[in-house]
Amino acid sequence: MDAITENLDAFWSGFLTSLGICLWAMVGSLFLGTVLAGCRVSPVPPLRAFGTWWVTTFRNTPLTVVLFFFAFGLPAIGINASFYFFGVSGLVVYTSAFVCEAIRSGINSVSAGQAEAARSIGLTFGQSLTLVVLPQALRTVVPPLGSVIIAMFKNSAVVGAFGVGGDLFSTGATLTSAQGYANLPVITGVAIGYLAITLPAGAILQVIERRVAISR
């Protein structure tokens, strides 16, 4: 247990870095995933094709490979940014494919008549989607979307392993390999750190689920 108590500062800063990655990636992937879902149900064939291509590509590629492309591929073609930015972007791009599909399933759960009624009063496709369909889709989307987001929180460990540095996972790696602490207690500390992110997230999701269920 000394491994944890002696390094509380390191764990705490690792926790904050991981939390930061998670929150940025959550905002980014929810936004991008929603836009992609809009593309996939849009009446414009090129947009539909783009959405389908995106989902097929990034849902079927291992996260590690996606991160490789971001961390080493983008600099190779002259795009330079911090590893933090590359890491979060890779996570966003990868997760957005799953977010898109969760939201699309929610859109499909809203009866077609709702969108027809929206369009027949003159709302544009974008307005029908944001004012009528998505608010109703939200209800069915919260549980699957929650799973996607929690999976993404855990995937943030891969980003840490990729050299962002200073997050929970890499803090654990530094403590064990560079400073010679025993593996088991350090990894336990790392696990506790991730649970401190995912368990409250699960609780918040339940609250949201109850809220949106009532407001019909």
Partner: protein, 265 residues
């Protein structure tokens, strides 16, 4: 081209008695297929301003599809549909603008389930016509009074009966000041005792001079409110006549057998 011209020339015959008024909805040589099924076959139909046209026919005759094509909820494969002189545009902002001028009432009401009755009626005016919230609300309240449900304004659709929901749907369409109102079997999903409350509202709209296309099985309404009855079967317009002519002296065999089945009881 020659074919289109021939059809254009043929259309005034359909708008009997209204030749002096400009056409509001013009369907010329309209064809539509669902796969191999020819749901609309060479439809020529002209509806003039202020006219009430009732479309009747057996199930699967294409009457609902005809109605849904007028605001392009269903695209057509061949032919031309124009509203107030403007040909229906492709998908996009222009189509949205045109749809805002064409009211539509559905069989299954399709009220926005997550919005209150008042918000259902004000959504279009606020988002499409950019009306102020206050103005949209006061107009919506007036419309809800007109259809007899002003006291339900703050409820959600699921809390209303079917007849009430359909009257809200009518108010929602009227809020856009449409040039023409389409009714796609508006009473088919209603209990018998609720049918009349909806038909009464529709009869009143007809009296007020609103241009209406009504797909329905309500022959009483057709007799009472229609200027013209269009009888469809197998994707064709088989017969067009005034209600009086159509119900007392149908010319086609198909219409005769259809009427004999539904008017005997």
């Amino acid at each position: 081209m020659a074919r289109v011209l021939a059809m254009t020339r043929a259309t005034p015959v359909n708008s009997d008695g209204n030749g002096d008024r400009p056409p509001l909805v013009e369907m010329t040589g309209v064809n539509k297929w669902f796969g191999d099924l020819h749901v609309l076959a060479d439809i020529n139909l002209t509806i003039t301003r202020g006219e009430v046209v009732v479309v009747i026919g057996p199930s699967g005759s294409g009457k609902s599809t005809l109605c849904r094509c007028i605001n392009r909820l269903e695209p057509i494969q061949k032919g031309r549909i124009a509203i107030d002189g403007k040909v229906l545009p492709e998908e996009g902002k222009d189509l949205a603008r045109l749809r805002s001028e064409v009211g539509m009432v559905f069989q299954s009401f399709n009220l926005f389930a997550h919005k209150t009755i008042l918000d259902n009626v004000t959504l279009g005016p606020i988002k499409v016509h950019k009306e102020s919230k206050d103005q949209a609300r006061s107009r919506a309240t007036a419309l809800l009074e007109r259809v007899g449900i002003a006291e339900q304004a703050d409820k959600f659709p699921a809390q209303l009966s079917g007849g009430q929901q359909q009257r809200v749907a009518i108010a929602r369409s009227l809020a856009m000041d449409p040039k023409v109102m389409l009714f796609d079997e508006p009473t088919s999903a209603l209990d018998p005792e609720m049918i009349n409350e909806v038909l009464d509202v529709m009869t009143q709209l007809a009296k007020d001079g609103i241009t209406m296309v009504v797909v329905t099985h309500e022959m009483g309404f057709a007799r009472r409110a229609a200027n013209r009855v269009v009888f469809m079967d197998g994707g064709h317009i088989v017969e067009e006549a005034t209600p009086e002519e159509f119900f007392t002296n149908p010319t086609s065999d198909r219409a005769k057998s259809f009427l004999s089945k539904i008017l005997t009881h």
